[in-house]
Symmetry: C2
Subunit: 520 residues, 2 copies
């Protein structure tokens, strides 16, 4: 390996360590930190981020990248150099250049201003949502939108993206290689099919899920979570489960990926599916294996937010809400939920009733309460609105009206108030424009990967029924996880499935599953 | 405040944050970290230490210190500058200069070699102790001793300490201002008195402590620990208690001082006294208050290791093993230990029997099992041997024989084997020469502070009996804690007690207490 590349990997390894240290600071804050420590902790996190940022934009990295061949900023390069590199080395340099370009294009004062405004906007959002007062939040959101436009302009400056839409630059932060046009095309196809399926389901009587609100003590829910983590193949020596207010997965080391959940006594399936979801994320992180040379580099990262979400949603929905999975597992679940007590929440509930209940479809104005069918419609709504905001086609003051109109159009619902409408999510106040599409793209990737898995293992359902989840994990590791970020999402989906991203797999999956459940 | 001083404080604040971040990395490793994460964690800790070290020795600090007045390395200074500073500023500069001189005097290759050799020596020590094989460990210890001699030579170079003994330089790392001669004088007085007291106790029948080995479930021990933490005034919003293999206290932030303990089912007083001991350490750290300007600086630190130990031992022994404390508290302890079960370990045991049991004196070859009377003799033994090793008066190969002779002389015991003799402690293998004296000095400081507290509050025993521990904590905060490291231990003890360190307070305290217990 060339010495410049080795030095680049060395610097990158330290950046990786700093990232993991920052993750520990945040994880501890959410799990175990005493309340009095909160002020200093934010200073500790800011210091680590500032040290990491200083190193990430160091001119030495620019020099090393230049010595190793063309950068995206200088179209003329030295192809002879590049030809000396192997595939992984080239993939690594692509990722390293992307990151360095991005980091160095953003002026420090803009980064600081975004952080400050996002902090203020989030505080304002909390209050505005509590008081259902969108006008109080609007000025904050306007400043965030302006700053995101400036950020996008910085990111597209000079490079090939100069002529592209500003929103593309923000999308690219979460879903490398995607554009507003490419996502609009995919969502356009999806939208009609979902609305049509929802209409068919609405004509049927609703599923009864009342027994899912029967009480189940925390200790039993913890036993269920632990059991499912083991069943899925989560290695206990490389992570742990803790409880928090808002569940997440976080990577504190290449062999230390921790998940979290929340136990609600009268909603035991909440922790159950949250654990399966987060374990799905963790298995991805734990399966990344770009080879020893790149173990501590940027290649040791997910291909994208959407690919990450495809993993959690595949485990949560395609496996965790499937008949095949519960055929084998349901008796054990009933037993663990009852904890030896004859009055457990699932006592007297048959498998079919359980499956109908955990797959109940019912439009709701709230994204986080949405089922598998309606969820992506919530995302399409946000994608259309946020791209309009960033491109200037929609003014912040007109957001509530536009939101409510789309909610009627897509889900047939009247929004009761802004608190349960355009004020429901934290994302925009935090400056996270371009993030929402990942959630729906994750569903689409998951379904397309799932089709490929069934193609490769025609007896997949039987394997799952027999409790053989190792086949699933083994396939995911070999086909998806190990690549890390060495492949762009578009390259990954093409390599694994033989075609570009196509929502037909997701629609077909939903159609088959819900036709059966609702006897459509 | 002068701008150089403000900049120095700013740099120091970041060093403080880095120190706390390093403490979190270590705390997590001992408490919750999954086993697979151990390799990367050591790299994360090394990186933070290296970043902190680079900053601690930056020439900018040297320039700032020079601009602010004379340094210890340049005896001629500008007294006019110094006279512009207030007391706390001068105290801060003294501490900052001490640290900078120390950090810059040590060559990086020596620091690295010490770390590497200590790591190898600790591994060799674990094996040698398990196999009772001192000769296998001797070559490692020899290299450590050589490196510590080199370290001491670097630390004394140039400065006023050039003519002082090498061991003094190592002592000074833990107990600023102390020397081999000053400690030998103090220990010399102590030694004879302790041996004499021990002889008198040995002539009496031993106390019965068999009931302390009755089983007590972990949940009840946890309830006892939590109760005692509250009784002592530990603020739960500024720390927490977790379980580990070897209990410790660690500071993760000025408002985040966490303690740990270990629950052993058939030794409930082990976790009880360990919790009281560690809470004593934590209360010190939490009480440091050198003023807002110095909140994040090196002044926000203990005066010394021995002063730290004085706090933990005062709470553990002078309060936690006292008749006054348990007169009020014993009924609640009996109740918590039984957990509503009539067969709790203290059922049918009277207060006097309990007090005799927790104050049982019995020479043992093992330091960590030693009682209040014999403990300091274990330390005197180590002090005499380690100063001989560093000064070259004792060869490593002669250590076992010297150890065994002193054990006979001080404690009247024959050492059964080296594993329970000179191989019993980890300290020397870790390069910790000069650390042991802190433990015994801690006892002496504690007793002298205790005398002063009784002088200031003649009704101290009554207050403690009535459960008023707030008086104790309030006195400690006002007299000791708040000063942090702004006073040297010698200054602190003189200011608080009106005299220099004198072992007579400790001897008188032991004499009075054990005369009563053993009816001497």
């Amino acid at each position: 390996m060339r010495k410049e590349l080795m030095r680049l990997i060395e610097i990158d390894g330290e950046l990786g360590l700093l990232g993991h240290i920052g993750a520990l600071l945040s994880w501890d804050q959410e799990t175990f930190m005493p309340i009095g420590a909160v002020d200093e902790r934010s200073e500790q996190i800011a210091l680590i981020e500032s040290i990491a940022h200083d190193r990430a934009v160091s001119p030495e990295i620019g020099d090393l990248l230049a010595a190793l061949g063309s950068t995206s900023a200088s179209p003329s390069g030295s192809p002879s150099d590049d030809s000396l590199l192997d595939d992984m080395e080239r993939a690594y340099l692509r990722v390293a250049r992307r990151q360095y370009d991005r980091d160095t294009k953003l002026p420090a004062d803009l980064v600081a201003e975004l952080a400050r405004e996002a902090s203020l906007a989030q505080a304002a959002w909390i209050e505005a949502r509590a008081k259902n007062d969108f006008p109080a939040f609007a000025p904050y959101l306007e400043r965030i939108v302006e700053l995101k436009k400036r950020q996008a302009a910085c990111l597209t400056q000079g490079g090939q993206g100069a002529r592209a839409a500003r929103y593309d630059a923000l999308l690219d932060l979460f879903e490398p290689g995607s554009t507003e046009a490419s996502i609009a095309e995919v969502f356009g196809k999806l939208r009609g099919d979902l609305v049509a399926l929802l209409d068919r389901i609405a004509s049927k009587p609703p599923a009864d899920d009342s027994f899912l609100r029967r009480p189940c003590p925390v200790s039993r829910q913890a036993a269920i979570s632990g059991w499912l983590m083991d069943v899925m193949g989560y290695e206990r020596g490389r992570g742990r489960l803790d409880t928090v207010a808002h569940p997440f997965t976080t990577t504190l080391g290449v062999d230390d990926v921790r998940i979290t959940t929340r136990f609600i006594e009268d909603s035991f399936v909440s922790s159950l599916f949250s654990t399966v979801h987060e374990t799905g994320h963790a298995l991805y992180e734990l399966g990344i294996a770009p080879g020893p040379a790149f173990k501590r580099t940027k290649l040791h990262d997910a291909a994208s937010m959407a690919v990450h979400e495809s993993q959690s949603r595949m485990w949560e929905n395609m496996i965790g809400r499937s008949a095949a999975f519960w055929k084998g597992m349901y008796p054990r679940l009933v037993e663990l939920a009852s904890g030896g007590d004859a009055r457990g929440p699932l006592e007297g509930i048959g498998l079919d009733s359980f499956l109908r209940a955990i797959n109940k479809v019912e439009p709701s104005p709230i994204r986080t309460e949405a089922d598998e069918v309606t969820y992506s419609l919530h995302i399409i709504l946000r994608f259309e609105l946020e791209s309009d905001l960033i491109s200037g086609r929609l003014a912040v003051n007109d957001l509530p009206e536009a939101w409510n109109a789309k909610m009627k159009e897509l889900l047939g619902l009247s929004v009761p108030d802004d608190a349960r409408g355009c004020l429901q999510d934290v994302h925009w106040s935090a400056g996270l424009f371009g993030y929402f599409p990942s959630y729906a793209l994750g569903n689409l990737y998951a379904a397309q990967f799932w089709s490929a898995m069934k193609r490769d293992m025609p007896d997949l359902d039987e394997r799952i029924e027999s409790g053989d989840l190792g086949s699933v994990l083994g396939w995911l590791r070999a086909k998806i996880h190990r690549h890390g970020s060495s492949l762009l999402p578009t390259e990954l989906v093409y390599r694994v499935t033989g075609s570009t991203l196509d929502p037909k797999h997701f629609v077909a999956y939903l159609d088959e599953k819900y036709s059966r459940i609702y006897a459509l």
